[in-house]
Amino acid sequence: MIRTIVLCLGIASGVAGLAAGCTPVKEYQKNRLNDSEMSLSSRKVEKNELNFQSYREGASGANGGKTGGGCGCN
C-alpha cells in the first residue's frame, strides 16, 4: 500500500510539475489540441475492446470506463 501511495504521489507530482511548467495556450492556438485524435479519452470504437479486457484480465479502471460492476466480469 505504501508503494502505491508513493507511486500515486509520484505521478501526481509529475503531473503537477508538468502543469507548473506548461506554456499558456490561447484558444486560437488549440487547433492541434482540438483535433478529435487528440482527445484524452478512449475512442468510441474501443468500447467493446475495453469490455472484453475487463472479463479476461484481473485489472480494470482508470481509463474512463468501469472499475467493476455492471456485468458478470471482475
Binding site: 505521478i11 506554456t23 484524452l40 467493446n48 472484453f52 485489472a59 460492476g69 455492471g70 456485468c71 458478470g72
Partner: protein, 389 residues
C-alpha cells in the same frame, strides 16, 4: 438502419445560435458494432481446463441531444442501448456431462446520461443511470459527477458511481437437485440470487502542456461487496474432488492511469497510456499502450496500436487440481492467474467536413485487434463506429 438515421437528421436545421436558449435537439448519433472471437483451454467452468471458445456480437446505439437554457448553460442528454449476443462452448459444462442445452446468451444494457455545462464558469455537473440484464446477471447503476476548469487550461473531475447487481446462483449440475435442470439459459427459473455492490470514486485531472501536448491523470478508488465470484466456476482439489469457486466478499481496487497525447509535426499523433493497478486480492498489474494516428489527409487517418499488459496472480488462484481443502478461498479462473498479454492491430478513420458523400454520416472508423495471453488464450476483435451529425 443507416437510411433511418439519415432521415432523422433531414429535418434538423444548422446550429447558428449556439448560446441562445434552445430546446434539446438531436445532435449526434453513434453506432458501434463489434465481433469478437476467442479460443483457449482454461475454462473456469471446468476448473481451469476445457475450451474457452467464445464469439460475441455487440451492437451499441447512442443518441445525443443538445440544448441551451435561458442562462446559457449547455445541456446534453445521451441515451444508449447495447445488445450483445454471445456463444460460449464452456456454458455446456455447467452440466457435469457437458449437456447444458444453451451455449449462447443475450445481454441488453440501456443507459441515460445528462450533463449541464456552464461554459462561462468552466464547470459541469452530470448524472447517469444504467441497467444491464443477461441470463445470469442483472445490474442497476447510478452515477453523479462534477468538473471544473482551471485558468491555466487544466480541468479537475470527480465522478461517483454505484452498481447494485444480482448474481443468479446457477451452480454446476452436480451441486443442484436433479429437478433444477441443466443449468443452461432458460432452464434456471428456480434459482435464487446473491447481491454484489460496487462503489467507485473516479478522480481526474487534465492539463494542456503546450500547443502540441496534453496529459491527464486518472485515479479510481473502487470497493466491491457481496458475491464476487461466479457460482458455476468449478475448482478441483488435489484429491480430484470438485467444488465451487470461493472468493472473499469484498475487494478494494486501486488503478492509477496517465495519458499523454502529443501532436508530432503536422500528420502524426502519439497517444500514450500507462496504468498501474493493485487490489487487496494480491493482483498487481501494469498496462502500457501506444496508438499512433497518422493523418494521410486532413480527413483520413490510419492508426496502428500496441498494448502490453502484465499481472501477478491473485492470492486465491491455483490451476486445475492444485488447491488444498485447507484453503480458505480458491479459484481456477485464469483472469486471476499470473500472465502477460499483447494486443496489437490497426484501424482507419474517415471524417470529411461535409460528411461522407455529403450526407449526415460524419465519420466512419474501423479497427481490428489481435490479442494473445501467455495462458494461450487468443482472441480477435473487429469494430465499426459510425457517427451521424
Amino acid at each position: 438502419m443507416y437510411f433511418l438515421l439519415l432521415h432523422a437528421f433531414s429535418q434538423v436545421t444548422s446550429d447558428s445560435a449556439a448560446f441562445k436558449s434552445r430546446k434539446l435537439r438531436l445532435d449526434e448519433v453513434n453506432l458501434v458494432s463489434s465481433y469478437y472471437t476467442q479460443s483457449g483451454d482454461h475454462s473456469a467452468i471446468q476448473g481451469g481446463i476445457g475450451s474457452e471458445k467464445v464469439t460475441d456480437l455487440a451492437n451499441g446505439l447512442e443518441l445525443k441531444w443538445l440544448g441551451w437554457d435561458a442562462r446559457g448553460r449547455k445541456n446534453t442528454l445521451t441515451a444508449g442501448l447495447g445488445i450483445d449476443h454471445h456463444t460460449a462452448a464452456s456454458q455446456a459444462w455447467i452440466s457435469k456431462t457437458g449437456a447444458s442445452r444453451h451455449t449462447d446468451g443475450l445481454r441488453i444494457y440501456p443507459s441515460l446520461d445528462w450533463m449541464r455545462e456552464n461554459e462561462k464558469k468552466g464547470s459541469s455537473v452530470s448524472l447517469g443511470a444504467y441497467y444491464s440484464n443477461e441470463f445470469n446477471y442483472q445490474s442497476f447503476g447510478l452515477s453523479a459527477g462534477i468538473s471544473q476548469k482551471t485558468k491555466n487550461n487544466g480541468e479537475f473531475g470527480l465522478k461517483l458511481s454505484g452498481y447494485f447487481d444480482q448474481v443468479k446462483l446457477i451452480y454446476p449440475s452436480e451441486f443442484e437437485p436433479a429437478t433444477f435442470g441443466s443449468g443452461g439459459r432458460g432452464d434456471h427459473r428456480d434459482y435464487g440470487s446473491s447481491p454484489r455492490q460496487t462503489y467507485t470514486a473516479s478522480f481526474s485531472f487534465s492539463q494542456v502542456i503546450n500547443t502540441r501536448m496534453q496529459v491527464s491523470f486518472l485515479l479510481d478508488l473502487a470497493e466491491q461487496h457481496g458475491y464476487l465470484g461466479l457460482p458455476f466456476h468449478r475448482v478441483y482439489f488435489t484429491d480430484g474432488v470438485d467444488s465451487v469457486e470461493r472468493l472473499p466478499s469484498n475487494r478494494f481496487k486501486l488503478p492509477i492511469g496517465l495519458r499523454l497525447n502529443y501532436f508530432l509535426g503536422d500528420r502524426v499523433i502519439l497517444r500514450g497510456y500507462y496504468r498501474y493497478y493493485q487490489d487487496n486480492w494480491g493482483v498487481r498489474a501494469h498496462t502500457a499502450s501506444l496508438e499512433v494516428p497518422v493523418k494521410i489527409t486532413p480527413f483520413f487517418s490510419v492508426t496502428p496500436f500496441y498494448r502490453y499488459y502484465t499481472q501477478t496472480a491473485a492470492d486465491y488462484f491455483a490451476p486445475y487440481g492444485e488447491h488444498a481443502h485447507s484453503d480458505t478461498y480458491y479459484t481456477s479462473n485464469y483472469a486471476l492467474a499470473k500472465f502477460s498479454g499483447n494486443f496489437f492491430g490497426g484501424g482507419f478513420r474517415v471524417a470529411p467536413p461535409k460528411g461522407i458523400f455529403d450526407t449526415h454520416l460524419s465519420s466512419l472508423e474501423i479497427r481490428y485487434g489481435h490479442y494473445t495471453q501467455t495462458t494461450d488464450l487468443v482472441s480477435d476483435v473487429i469494430s465499426l463506429h459510425l457517427q451521424f451529425k
